[in-house]
Symmetry: C2
Subunit: 301 residues, 2 copies
Amino acid sequence: MSVLVVGTVAFDSIETPSGSVERVLGGSASYFALGASFFAPVRIVGVIGEDFPQDYLDLFTQRGVDIEGIKRERGETFHWRGRYHEDINVRDTIELHLNVLAGFEPQLPDNYRDAEYVFLGNIDPLMQLEVLNQIRHMKLVICDTMDYWIRESPEELKKVLQRIEMLVINDSEARLLSGYSNIVQAARAILRMGPKMVLIKRGEYGVLQFSDSSVFATPAYPLEEVFDPTGAGDSFAGGLMGQLARSGDLSQGSLRRAIVYGSVVASFTVEDFGVKRLTDTSLPEIEDRYQKFVRLTDFHS
Amino acid sequence: MSVLVVGTVAFDSIETPSGSVERVLGGSASYFALGASFFAPVRIVGVIGEDFPQDYLDLFTQRGVDIEGIKRERGETFHWRGRYHEDINVRDTIELHLNVLAGFEPQLPDNYRDAEYVFLGNIDPLMQLEVLNQIRHMKLVICDTMDYWIRESPEELKKVLQRIEMLVINDSEARLLSGYSNIVQAARAILRMGPKMVLIKRGEYGVLQFSDSSVFATPAYPLEEVFDPTGAGDSFAGGLMGQLARSGDLSQGSLRRAIVYGSVVASFTVEDFGVKRLTDTSLPEIEDRYQKFVRLTDFHS
């Protein structure tokens, strides 16, 4: 089963305590697509400018990512510049140039409209709704968002929440969206807004997943070095949804295993700058780290 | 097998966003002893003042805690006053009166000297060494410490570290002790100081345990309400060591299960002020929550 993602395709300029890079491939759709591509064919919807290099497009196609849905517009590609603190969990946005993203109206190619596994990356909730309106019958829709949309477009976001199965969100965003500081209460409040599941990303501390009938908690894979946390959340979601599409199984047990696959994919992402480590790894290496994760968390045997 | 703890027996005055209490039973040895008492007989070594009420001593004996090692001295009992922020992970010490603790020289009753399971609560490393010198042959020594001793008594602390099996420490203390900001590197550096295992407490995010040959990561039990985090870490250590003494099994699998028991005990502790919830619960309730914890973290079935 193939996976559809809509989100940003960007240039990222990143500074971390370990070094810096200029105008590397970034964006929520890019990280998601590469993370999912180990498990399933991926279709990507996004916009780029005239300055976007063919090499980056080739990177997608080499990994089975269908780029027919990437539109090239006149102007420059979306560009984000960020700096991470000594405490790698904290980052500042130094520059943000929307460029061609400003006028983006997602248009799905005809052969994308039967997509069953859909990820709505962190973009304007209005665009997320437009995408949902173009798809015929979805099996699973997962959505991401951020503090900006929670503050600026709460009504549109609420409409999105009523049409998705799972919201993937970090803990501070969950608190902002719900108004609760306790994370369990925050998750319960978000479930009342519509989604059947809410998944709280806690960075290096792992993930909490809530539904009406179940809670799942899992740590993150401990790493000796985190070079660049950019894209961890989106590649996590990519691994999660890719694995679900690969298995075709949406049971609670399968969802939990997919969350662990997502965590494993994200653990590779942060081991180097940008998408470098994510594109250097392989499915056997991911499966191997999944087994390490099993041993890391096992207290039964 | 019985468990020996040395640490503080105190009055705590606590303010949290949920309310406040004055001069309730507190201290590292108290929380540890009560947490361990569900699983094994406990012997406690500490000091109290003339103002310490018989009721609190009775609370210990009713739970199978041998209080022969609690010395009553002239003067007042150690008193801590703290205030928790809206973000319950942050607290300020408002008052700290050492009182009788200032001149404390731990003296083990003769029948304590064959203790096999020993917990050195967070006190002066010199006192921790004195206790070790009075015990004949230990099977397992776990030690706690804090930023104050890491800064003020690094040499004495290093001597302690060479004589224990496991250091239990929170993440900021692990960073301070090791000089590494990455928690995996911090743990590896602490292992090089002597202990065979280091256990990093991350509060609501769970626990990481490191040895030369193994890493174990587990989340904390998610709670809808945290009334008072005081004593969570010490009752965690109590549950951990109590379960190890109950099982008599120091294999890696047994250690991991004991860590989960410790997490479960701590999850009760924080559900009310002081030791209230911890003394209201029962072993069947703990076993029940342990099974919930198994389901919370399971991604195999």
